[in-house]
């Protein structure tokens, strides 16, 4: 992976570790903030957290791989989270997923080759009254159809 040649700016990491220094049970918030700062959790950074905070790397990896929120690989510039919760499922979410997969060549759960899109199929975004629903870069789109969805995604840069 190209990540291996990447060198990371450690300043954000230092700031985050300082904020949580000495706090009980801070592993998850630290990882959340680090992922916010770097976009994902690169191996080098996890090793740094382990060294600096004195948390065994095995424990960190254990936590990272347990929770769906954490990612060990680079993500696309735009994150599409399309809901396949019950209400969305019965109202046509699978069709929207298929349309995005074929039109934008991004597989569900994966990232497009140009790192433009990452597509996640998630369970319930809690807006079932507007099913089917998708969240694109933290913006919620409700009552969508495959056509409107693909069109609005194409318009992102």
């Amino acid at each position: 992976m190209s990540d291996d040649q990447h060198t990371f700016d450690l300043a954000p990491l230092e700031r985050i570790l300082k904020e949580y220094a000495g706090q009980k049970g801070a592993v998850i918030p630290i990882l959340q903030q680090v992922q916010d700062a770097y976009g994902y959790l690169p191996r080098e950074i996890l090793v740094e957290i382990s060294k600096r905070a004195g948390i065994p790397i095995t424990q960190l990896i254990g936590v990272v791989t347990f929770y769906a929120q954490f990612h060990l690989t680079r993500r696309g510039r735009h994150l599409i989270r399309i809901c396949d919760g019950t209400a969305c499922h019965v109202r046509g979410a699978p069709e929207a997923v298929k349309a995005i997969e074929t039109s934008l060549s991004v597989p569900a759960g994966g990232t497009s080759p140009d790192f433009k899109y990452t597509l996640e199929v998630v369970y319930c975004l809690g807006s079932c009254g507007l099913a089917p629903v998708a969240v694109v870069d933290d913006q919620v789109h409700g009552r969508l159809t495959p056509e409107t969805m693909v069109e609005s995604l194409r318009q992102l840069d």
Binding site: K24, G25, A26, V27, I28, P29, L31, Q32, Q59, G62, V63, F66, Y67, A68, Q69, F70, G85, T86, A87, H89, V90, V122, Y123, C124, L125, G126, S127, C128, G129, L130, A131, V133, D138, V140, H141, G142, R143
Partner: protein, 637 residues
Amino acid sequence: MSGLVSIAELAQLRDATQSSVHTGLETTPTIIVGMGTCGIAAGADKVWAALQQGLAQRNLDVPLKGVGCIGICVKEPLVDIQLPGKPRVTYANVKPEMAARLIEEHLVNGQPVKAWMLGQMDDRGPGKAQAEPLYPGVAFYSKQVRIALRNCGLIDPEKIEEYLARDGYQALGKALAEMEPDDVIAEMKDSGLRGRGGAGFLTGLKWELCRRSRGGPKYVICNADEGDPGAFMDRSILEGDPHSVLEGMTIAGYAIGAAAGYIYCRAEYPLAIQRLKTAIRQAHELGLLGQNILGSGFSYEIYLKEGAGAFVCGEETALMASIEGRRGEPKPKPPFPAVSGLWAKPSNVNNVKSYGMVPQIILNGADWFAGIGTPKSPGTAIFALTGKIKNTGLIEVPMGITLREIIYDIGGGLPKGKRFKAVQTGGPLGGCLPESALDTPVDFDSLIQAGAVMGSGGMIVVDHDTCMVEFAKYFLQFASDESCGKCVPCRIGGQRLLEVLTRIAEGRGTLQDLDEIEYISRNMKEASLCALGQLTPGPVLAALRFFRQEYEAHIVDKFCPAGVCIGLFAFEINDDCKGCGLCVKACPQEAITGGKKEKHVIDQVACIQCGSCFDVCRLDGVSIIPLSEVVKQAAAN
């Protein structure tokens, strides 16, 4: 505002805020926009911008107020206009281009735009009889009694003054000034409140067990890890009325003798998290959290913890492991959290809705609460009503109401004249009930008896287009994806069940498979470590109990009557066809032919069973038939 040092000051502040911000008592006109997640998703932010622009153009100095969800999601975006001394008028499905006319006619000229109105709010302020519907004459609100939702959609959740104006923190003041911790517990026990997370354990008894536990510090935990697909009750309360949860948790902390509370909120709810952070800060500034609250000597902190995306963390022991920064894996019980919970200290875990009801119980008394609902399930139930139903939304109803009343009277029935098939309660760990069970009263015990569960409040209605094999398979897929893998019955059992269901859905099932389902389910129920594994078989067992013939059709006739399981059905145009040609245009395969006003025909070889013709036909002219019929017909020709 500076910190409050006594309970008397709290009462004074309430009186001061009441005259300035209480709804209905405004002295200046106000525009109110529903800005919950669902409101924003429907375009409320664009409506907000249009209103802002419209006000600026006319140089009107009218405050725009953002509020949480008032429940009727299907009518979002919602805009209210409140003129001094007049009822608050609510407009439904507001679009940005409607802003100018609303400002012109209603705000400036005082003439409500009748055509766009949802209704007039009948808000009599705090202390009003709870049985009055919020919008008289609007069916959706007709049978609702709002206790936990009493402020949602009415107050600006980012302003503590608005919560105070509606008797906010008065219950905390009352508890601290007039009640010993044991009195609070007695009041909660007398009220009969049962845990609204779904299990229905007596809240007061849970508090008492934690209070009596030795050791400390003790912790109060709010389970806001609302993970069930199809459920958004907790999100709406956290977004619309976060202080009610903080107040309930603080009262719990006082009763139990806890030093701190934790809210574990799922990360998928960014707006709820932001509003909780604001609310905690405000409560601190006013001295309603922190050291020596209201001069009572009681000190208490509330911390917010964000989840990281694991359904199993809604299970209390897994949730506590996650707060501690570990993998969210459950532990066997006993020991129960009341004895050994967070960091092995006595802890009390309740759901958002349970805490949200506490202030009202303390303020109005146990008898008042016990008088609502049924003797064994007092109070109200909150449901997120979704699926194939006209009025989707969030409702709060007295326990004992029937499913039929909820679905038809409040929910308005199914859209497009579709027929009711089943209602799923309790989410992916719940169960579905058929039409014959529609008169079941909704309470903890009746639902279990009927074959479903109360759950935390998801209620999903499906029509005859939903296949009960696929529906159960979908829930199993969810539950087995979310199994944490710690215990074998859940990890392996869920997979095996999923394989059986997949076989049946693909037409490869046998009748022995139905016994296999029951065998695996029994073992999962008895041997799984936590509720996730124990309840995973729920949906498939309920589906099998009420829709066995549909399973048998998949197995014996290789037929999916709902037309969902690919390869187990075909479409055929029947004699109701009037030859309108709609289906010809809709078919992506150009597989339908036929002249105008003549019965059309589907080319079965070209058909991909996408269902476009079935959906588009207005005359029920497209039938779902077994694939074997097609084969037979082909052989005959």
